[in-house]
Structure formats: structure tokens, C-alpha cells
Symmetry: C2
Subunit: 470 residues, 2 copies
């Protein structure tokens, strides 16, 4: 379990540091233990590591003030959205201030005619889609959790719709960012494309709070599809399901979602969501488009599935049926936890080129079948991305050590296949050990130079993304 | 004409600097005046500014060697692809070495099953598509010129297909880059998505040779569409054409290309390409998809065009007809030049949110109608991006000064509309003066910090992108 134990090394707070915060923010600055502990963890398996104080910001000026205060005193500053990250992103490994942005939840502007919306960082994806309901538009990125847009940008999130609509990388048009020393910049205009200088937007997307604090996000929107249809298809085995995915992608069928669940995940979902899905590997599809295009896509996909022994499609055409299906898919994480009452989970994600997906998932499943604990595999397989959820006895260090070994083997396998150690969860603490193997030391040095250039005092979410020097 | 006159300030070459190059590269190092002059210009209106030497590199090791040599001696180094840039990107404002990468023209790998290709920087887009011919795949980015993939990545190029397939920003998956001091890095894996650290790929895309030397490019490929259809539609006036574009985009019709030509451009094209198009503002469309989807798209677009007084579509269904049409469109630049024999051109591009496109194009045309020289407007209007070609008497400084004033007013108009000073041409020298207005000083300072971090001796294409300190 050692890889999951990191000692907190809090920086000493200068005299008067907390008093100044309290004087500026009053009740919106808290040092209560419960509040600090709530902000000193995420959905990762790490033990809590609380910050010294939590500040609830209401506007950009307040964020800039806190940034300057921390920068001037060399104190760590961790931006906090919805707390739904998975790899230890939010742990206060060097103590300091956690800046809770959930109160910055204003929809700043919707430009329906340009297919863009600008929101404050604390707005969640569900809140945004609720606000868009009457415009005929929607924001497609859907990582499962009702994450904040600021957090989704910071982790380069994606999820079930990415195979059709892309990830936060493709869908963030511009950001308002507070720099380490409290300056406020806009990273781009609202033009759909630009060649005017360095791509600051993409630099901050995925930077996990280590290069700047995202306070506003302008995203691309899409027309609500005229027709939507969803279906489930069961397969005799994992390989048949994954091979079908590969062929669908290689045929260029523009599916909106193509999700994989292994038999364990289906079983867990049946129990948790009171469904009666056949408990063999399955794919969930969703098709968006005109009625004719949706029909055409569905026909192409059914033909491919049949060739691989797929059962007949079970359709979910009514919105409420689709909603039930996707809720069940999104609850696969919680459903998995119920497979082993009292367990804690360790979750991981990798992404490989689609041509290697069957091999990568297959080898992984064969290894996990030998493990001493239960697991599930689900994935956004249209992108070559899948997740493993390992269900562990919180008090058994051997199980944790075993899960860490399996995670390491999985990541090594993905990197050897020209893939990545994380498709969408981010690096946080838990994937740092793989950064060198994936990128090489020279590329890591370039990343470290960028970090030093934008945050010379190393105050922004220190200890994340970049591994300690070799 | 003063804004176009920049004095070359060549750095003094240390003793033996050129001798070492000559010893290493033999005949592939040239100081011949003709070779230097050929490499000291691009398609911009600037006078030639030759480098001190031109080196023709054959592989990554050679590029790294030259980078180290220039870095050690603090001499400027300018990567050179096809020479087709438009804003002065290639001018040796501080002298130094021009590194010609056109000989690095090997297709390194085509992974058809993953829809990716890896090519050396000197491979041109036509060469790549030729190599892909039998795979059923194609690379869509098409800036008109047969540019090198390295150059297209470096300028964040796009062109006619971007409305459907995106720009180099979306379609470069990974780069091999030689750093200022001669290290070689890969910016990403071949996974379709990743959250593993800072987005180095997007940092180098659009950096115009100022942050590193792109030596290898991995791009996304797409299935050749099952059905393709193209059509021309004339409109009574500019506004009707542009309003139609806006509605097509807002309807979410997935057109592959939607190009605008004003009446002047049509007239020039008729003469140059021996066509008999009606000489009023027109739109060129191309539709990609299944036969049913192409039909559906075409019907939606025709309905919109009719509402705005569009004439009947003239279809180009045979590949040779489409090819003639797009060749004519791509030759619009050369065709424009023929409108005024003996002229030189100044070209510019801006990009605005689509809701402001009609206003921006309209105001621009009204101003240009008052100019003392001819002009044409063409554009990738589905993205809100358009170009102005101004045809100037090379010996009349008043015309050049007037064209600069009009360019400045156009860019100011685009920025005021939340647009950008360049949609796809890049900054080079000619758009530097607008960087502060577009990004603000604080964002420029962030860009300058990135440049200083990755190129501390300022050897990589110095004097480009970032304006001199205020």
C-alpha cells in the first residue's frame, strides 16, 4: 500500500497569513477541521490530506487577491471545483489554501447563434445543459460525475460522448485564467479558429491547476440532434465486443456513444439499478442525427455486431428509457462498489490506439481474473479508452499492493502499445510515476520549464502532474 | 509603406561558424546569394531578407546538430518548409541559418486501422494524400498551397475543409520536435485522447518555429467519404450569400466546405481559369457522407439559399468537374493578381464569430470599394474566416500606405467583434502589431515567458509572433 502513502509536507504559514485571509473573506474563509478534510480529498483512494484553510471565492477579483496573497508568501494554492477528480488532484500535499470555486456558478453568456457559452468555473455540466434547454443546443462532454466546467477543463475531461464530439481539448474555445501572481488573462477570442500566437487555451486545459486558476470557460455548443436512438447489444465474449467497436470506428460510422461494460459491470449494474440486462459483455450505443442518418448508422452497426455474434439490439427510443440506461451506465462506479460491501475502490484509466484495444483489454482482463479481489471494466471504447475498477478491502495492505502492481502492469502495457497512462482522469498524484515512461525525460524537462515559467514560486497545486526529479 | 519596411539586424557570426556548417554538410550548406535570397522571403509583401546560410537537413540528427550549433553560438535559426507562408514568417530579420526541411520527405508510417499517419516535416499535403490513395483514407486539411506538413503545423493552418474536419490544431495528434538546444522530444502518444500532462502538441502547433523545430508530424486521417457532391450558388449580393452561410452553420448541416467569393474574385477566376461563372457573389459547397446524407444536406442548404435569393445550384458531381472547381478556387489568389498586371499583392485574413460575419464582411467591402486599387474577398466563411487580397502598384507608396491603413481597420473591426487578427495565416511579422490589442499585455507576457522558457537565447526564428516590448 506504500505507493498510496505520501507524507504531507505542509509549508509553514507566515504570521498573519490566515488573519489576512479571514479579514478579507470573513465567514467565507474556514479553518474548521470538517471543512478542511472535505476539501483535502477527492474520489481517489488516497487518505485525506487537508489544506490549512478553505476560501470560498465569489468573483475573479477575489481569486486574484488570494493568488497574490499566496504568491507573495510562497504558500500553496489549490483550486477546487466539485471534488470529483479521481487521482489525488486535490490533496494538499504541501498544505496551504484550497480555493473553492463552486460559488462562481453564473452563466455569463450564451451566444446561441455562435454555438458558444461562457460560464464561471463553478458551473456544472448539468447546470449548463439546464440553462441551454430552450435554445435547441447542448454541451456534450459528459464525464459521468456532475463536475464543474472549470474542473473539467483543468483535467481535460471527456467521457461517453467524446467519440463523436471530442474532449475538453476540442471543446474549450477560450478561458479566463488568473496567473500565479494574480494577473487575469483571456486565452483566446471567440473566433472559431485563430493562428494568432501560442495556444494558451490548450496549455491551461489539462494543467490541473498547476499553471493558473481557471475562472471562466467558453465552450462550444452543438445543436440538439433531431433524432436520437440508443441500443444495447450483448456479445458472447469480451473480444467479440471490442472487435465490433474497432470495426464501427474503422468504418467511420459517426456514433455519438459507444460504451463497453464487462460481465462484472453488467451484473453490478443490474443489482444497483434494478435492471435485467443479460450478464455478458455488452456495448451501449447512441446515435445522433437526422432520422435517416440515425437509421443508417444503426443498420451499419447492427451488421457489424451480428458478424461478431452480437445478440439482437434492445432499443431505447423513448427519452425516459435512454435516460434510465445512461443513468445506469453513469452509476456503474457506485454499482461496482456494491459488489463488495465495505470495500474501497482503486480506479484507473488508460487509452490506446484502437487497433490495440482488444489486445489491451483482453490481457488486462486475464490478469485481473487472477486477482484476489473483484473488479469491473467499463470504457469509452470508441476512443480506445477504458477504466478498471478494483474493489479492495480497506484494511488489507496486500490487496492494495496487488492492485498497485496490476495498475502498473496495465499502464506499462498501454504505453508499450503507443497509448497513454490516462485517457481522461488526469495525472494528479497517482499517475506521476508513469510520466517519465510515457513522455521521456526531455519532454518532462520541457513541461517543468513551462511550470517554472508560469509559476516560479511553485505555489499552484504543487506536487501534482510532474514527478519529482529523478 | 513604412510598416512593411523592417531593417535586417543580423547578428555577427563568430569566426569559424560557417566553416563548421560547411564541414558538416558539404554541398548541403549554401551561402550562394540566389539560394539565400530564395530562402529569405515567403508569399508576403515584404522585401527579401536573406539568411547568412542555408542548410538542407536530411534527418533528425542533422537538425539537432544545427540547433546545438546555433544555440551554442547564439545565432538565429529559421526552419523552412515549402516557403508558402504569407505574413513574413521566413524572413531572416536577424540573419542566421535557414534550415530547409524539404528533403525530410519520408512517410514514416501509415496506421490505417487507427486513422493516423506519421510523416517527416517536409512531406507536403498532396504527397501525403497520394500515399494514402489506396487506403480509403485521406488527410483533409487543405490551405490551398501544397504546403509541407511541418509548416502547416507550425502556422496552425486550415483552409477549405476546416468547417467539417477542423484545423491543424484538431488534427495533429503528436509531433517530434527538436528543442532550441538540440534535444529531441515526442509531444504525445498515438492515443486518440490523453490527460497525461501539459499539451505540448498544441503548444508547438502554431508556434511558427519560435519554440522548437518540428521534424515529424502525426496526423489524424478520415475515411474517404462514400459520396461527395459539390455545387455553386450565386447570390444577388454579398449579404445574402453570407446570411445563407450563417443559417447553414446554425442549422448544424455538416457541410464539408462552404466557400465565399465576391464578384471581383469570380471575375478574376473566370478569366484565369477559363470558366463562365456568373459574376456575382457566390458560395461553393461540398458535401461528404453517405449518398442519403449528402442528399439530405444538399436539400437543407438549397432551401436556405433559396430564401436568400440564391440562384439554382450548379452541380459538379463528377470528380473531374469538382477538381476543376476547387482548382479554380485555389487559384483565386493567382487569378486575383491577374486583375492588375504588374501588381504586387498584400493579403490579410481575419476570423470572427459567425454571428458577426455579415457585418464584418459588409463593412470591409464598403471600405474597400472606396480604395484606389482593386481587391478581392474570398473566405472559408463557414468558420467566420475571410481573406482580402489587395492589388497594389509596387512603386506607389501611397497605395501601400492606404492598404496598410485598410488592413489595420479590418483587423481592429474583427477584434472589436470578438474575433482574431488571423484565422489561419499566422502572425509572422505582419500581424505582430495587433497582438497586444487582441490578447492584452498580460497574456502577451505569458507568451513571452513561454518563449523565454523554451528558447532562452532567442535563437529560434527570432523577431516573429511576439511584438517588441511596448
Amino acid at each position: 500500500m506504500d505507493t498510496l502513502h505520501i507524507a504531507q509536507q505542509a509549508r509553514p504559514l507566515p504570521d498573519g497569513f490566515l488573519d489576512a485571509l479571514a479579514a478579507r473573506f470573513g465567514e467565507r474563509c474556514s479553518t474548521a477541521q470538517a471543512v478542511r478534510e472535505h476539501h483535502g480529498r477527492d474520489e481517489s483512494p488516497y487518505p485525506v490530506m487537508p489544506p490549512d484553510a478553505v476560501v470560498y471565492a465569489r468573483d475573479v477579483d477575489e481569486v486574484a487577491w488570494v493568488a497574490r496573497h499566496c504568491h507573495d508568501h510562497g504558500i500553496a494554492l489549490i483550486p477546487y471545483g466539485a471534488g470529483s477528480s479521481l487521482e489525488g488532484h486535490l490533496l494538499a500535499v504541501q498544505g496551504g489554501v484550497c480555493l473553492d470555486l463552486s460559488g462562481m456558478d453564473r452563466i455569463v453568456a450564451v451566444h446561441a447563434e455562435d454555438f458558444t457559452a461562457t460560464v464561471q468555473a463553478g458551473v456544472t455540466r448539468k447546470q449548463l445543459n439546464e440553462a441551454l434547454r430552450d435554445t435547441g443546443l447542448f454541451f456534450p462532454i459528459d464525464p459521468g460525475a456532475d463536475a464543474s466546467l472549470g474542473g473539467m477543463a483543468a483535467t481535460r475531461a471527456s467521457g461517453t460522448n467524446a467519440v463523436r464530439y471530442g474532449t475538453m481539448r476540442e471543446n474549450v474555445m477560450s478561458l479566463k485564467v488568473v496567473t500565479a501572481d494574480g494577473r487575469v488573462i483571456e486565452t483566446a477570442s471567440r473566433a472559431r479558429k485563430s493562428s494568432a500566437g501560442y495556444d494558451l487555451t490548450r496549455l491551461f486545459v489539462g494543467s490541473e491547476g498547476t499553471l493558473g486558476i481557471i475562472v471562466e470557460v467558453t465552450v462550444r455548443l452543438y445543436p440538439q440532434p433531431e433524432a436520437v436512438s440508443a441500443a444495447i447489444c450483448n456479445f458472447p465474449d469480451l473480444d467479440a465486443a471490442v472487435q465490433s467497436v474497432i470495426e464501427v470506428i474503422q468504418m467511420g460510422v459517426p456514433v455519438a456513444r459507444i460504451e463497453f461494460m464487462d460481465a462484472h459491470a453488467v451484473r453490478a449494474t443490474n443489482r444497483y439499478s434494478h435492471l435485467s440486462l443479460r450478464e455478458s459483455p455488452l456495448l451501449l450505443f447512441e446515435f445522433h442525427g437526422s432520422p435517416a442518418s440515425v437509421r443508417e448508422q444503426a443498420e451499419s452497426v447492427q451488421a457489424i455486431a451480428r458478424e461478431h455474434g452480437g445478440q439482437d439490439f434492445q432499443w431505447a427510443d423513448r427519452p425516459e428509457d435512454r435516460s434510465r440506461l445512461w443513468t445506469a451506465r453513469h452509476n456503474a462506479y457506485f454499482a461496482g462498489l456494491q459488489l463488495r460491501p465495505g470495500c474501497r475502490s482503486s480506479t484507473t484509466d488508460v487509452c490506446v490506439p484502437i487497433s490495440r484495444l482488444a489486445e489491451c483489454v483482453g490481457e488486462t482482463a486475464r490478469e485481473l481474473d487472477q486477482a484476489s479481489f473483484p473488479y469491473t471494466i467499463v470504457g469509452h471504447v470508441g476512443d480506445g479508452n477504458f477504466h478498471v475498477l478494483m474493489l479492495l478491502d480497506p484494511d488489507d495492505p496486500d490487496e492494495w499492493a496487488e492492485s498497485e502492481r496490476l495498475n502498473q502492469r496495465l499502464v506499462a502495457r498501454a504505453i508499450a502499445m503507443q497509448g497513454t497512462c490516462t485517457g481522461e482522469h488526469g495525472v494528479g498524484l497517482h499517475k506521476q510515476a508513469f510520466m517519465r515512461a510515457e513522455h521521456g525525460q526531455d519532454a518532462l524537462d520541457v513541461m517543468a520549464a513551462l511550470k517554472a515559467a508560469l509559476d516560479p514560486r511553485n505555489v499552484l497545486n504543487p506536487g501534482k502532474i510532474l514527478p519529482p526529479a529523478a
